[in-house]
Symmetry: C2
Subunit: 309 residues, 2 copies
Amino acid sequence: MRPSLRQLEYIVAVDRLGRFGLAASALNVSQPSLSAQIAEVEAELGLRLFHRSRTGVVATAQGAELIRRARRILREMEDLRAAASGGVPFGGRLRLGVLPSIGPYLLPGVVSALHRNHPELRILVREESTQWLEQGLKAGRFDLIISTPEDHPGTVQTRLFSERLWIAVARDDALARGVGPVRANDLRGRMFLTLDRGHRLSRIVYALASECGGVVSEEYEGTSLDGIRLMAASGAGVAILPEVYVRRQGEAGHETVLRPLVAAQASRDIALLQLGGGEEMAGTDLIAGALRQGAEALGIAGVRAGEET
Amino acid sequence: MRPSLRQLEYIVAVDRLGRFGLAASALNVSQPSLSAQIAEVEAELGLRLFHRSRTGVVATAQGAELIRRARRILREMEDLRAAASGGVPFGGRLRLGVLPSIGPYLLPGVVSALHRNHPELRILVREESTQWLEQGLKAGRFDLIISTPEDHPGTVQTRLFSERLWIAVARDDALARGVGPVRANDLRGRMFLTLDRGHRLSRIVYALASECGGVVSEEYEGTSLDGIRLMAASGAGVAILPEVYVRRQGEAGHETVLRPLVAAQASRDIALLQLGGGEEMAGTDLIAGALRQGAEALGIAGVRAGEET
DNA sequence: CATGACAGATAGCCTGAAACTATGAATACC
DNA sequence: GGTATTCATAGTTTCAGGCTATCTGTCATG
């Protein structure tokens, strides 16, 4: 595109130094090369940029305006380069997608910690269900997503932690009287409450139900974890909750009793997913570390060193 | 400067179309050329701009930020070109220098007329005395100056009009009783009031005094035309005033009587001066025309078709 | 008035960045 | 598993932009 960036540098230098010769030596080119380029720009734009005289050159009125614009463009070009090599992860703006069953419970502490340590990094969080997260990642709407690591071809996954599932039942429920973890057998024949289909948690609960001989409530699928806990408190069934929710929200409200669940399907892995070849591990490691720390702070046991899969 | 503008166009096109091949044909280059340039930018900046996959390419987080900046730079480049060829005279910003004995009287109507006809043209007016005007023009602080056409080497001059000088005397002065123009003889032996030395008007008045046998008041040189007219009203002498002042300000205040002056030195030419070879006559003609119309509107007789000298 | 000195413009040549064609490698879909 | 699609690589060619040498025009000075 004419004029070129180099030509913009030339006209700015000539304007600043007021002499072709001076500008040429400052730019480490010969004076004829500089003259030719200035003439080229003037021909291209169809106007005269400088008044030539013995005593030096002075910008014309139109030239002064164009030089002002050229300075601005060159400065923004410098900014672009600085932004590229400036070490700010994710270009200063991370679009993070997260499962609704994780985000509100894990992220608040993590985001504020990241903001403390990296004030220049803006984090935009969106909660969407599994398949929308994956689609958004592939379409470039997200830079990173926090999801479960199954079947996401074409992505690089960083294991964050694995969390167990918990149950919540009304205080007058039989299960509320036991101590310690609940086993699969204890749930035989019970009604399970979970989120709408489409949420990852829903599929896990269906698998759990078939494992331990329970049935998933078709009628009362909830749209939020708080919602299904309230349903459990009313005696509608056994709410299946992720550990992050329990650790953060569990203590509030004593209408339900919370107990960990021990079963083959009763845990899920949480991973950080990104597109592509995984060269940009620096920024991802930063986020992954913060997320693991956040999970540890919540008291989640299954935090291990992340492994790419 | 790397990356080049062309490379910026390339990354923007790839981001917009999501496919190397599509972007390449849209840009009228071959796909390998495009790939090479993208790879070049990524190597230069030390980061990956796009996630490649079968289904297309998606910007990385850092890439998205850089593409945003690239779009901005390209848009401003378009603006620069538009500003160059957009026909707006003087790049939209005219720095006009003018003599203090002309500016406040001639310019108000002219500037508002120009603004009506060319709303996109900003006019910055500065009043300075002759030698500062010339210096400012040569140093590029002014795009055009309105001054007297004498001895300004290295400039192109466009004659605007010539104005006569007028006198102002107190109502009880002997000269106040005559009618019609005052002749040089009538001023013999009188005390002339004028502006400080350094103003062009001052030199003309000194020449006039030596022609018609008067004396210039050394003691009461004024800093404004209104000021010397007030001195004349107090009987301090004969104020010598330019016609533009009289036409605009003369009627206000009847403490003095105004009469035109006829003498060899009793007129001065006013010209529009600009630097350089005079290729950019289009904008100058516009301003010159407006100034001549303004002078005619004030009733100044000496408006002729402008001649370059 | 001639002449020297200086600044920018012009001429001719040369190098290197970027274009093209042809081909290879990898993945998704039938 | 074959095929088609998509991006990457290799080798060649062309032209923008660089350099040296020289010309032109203006100011200062003898």
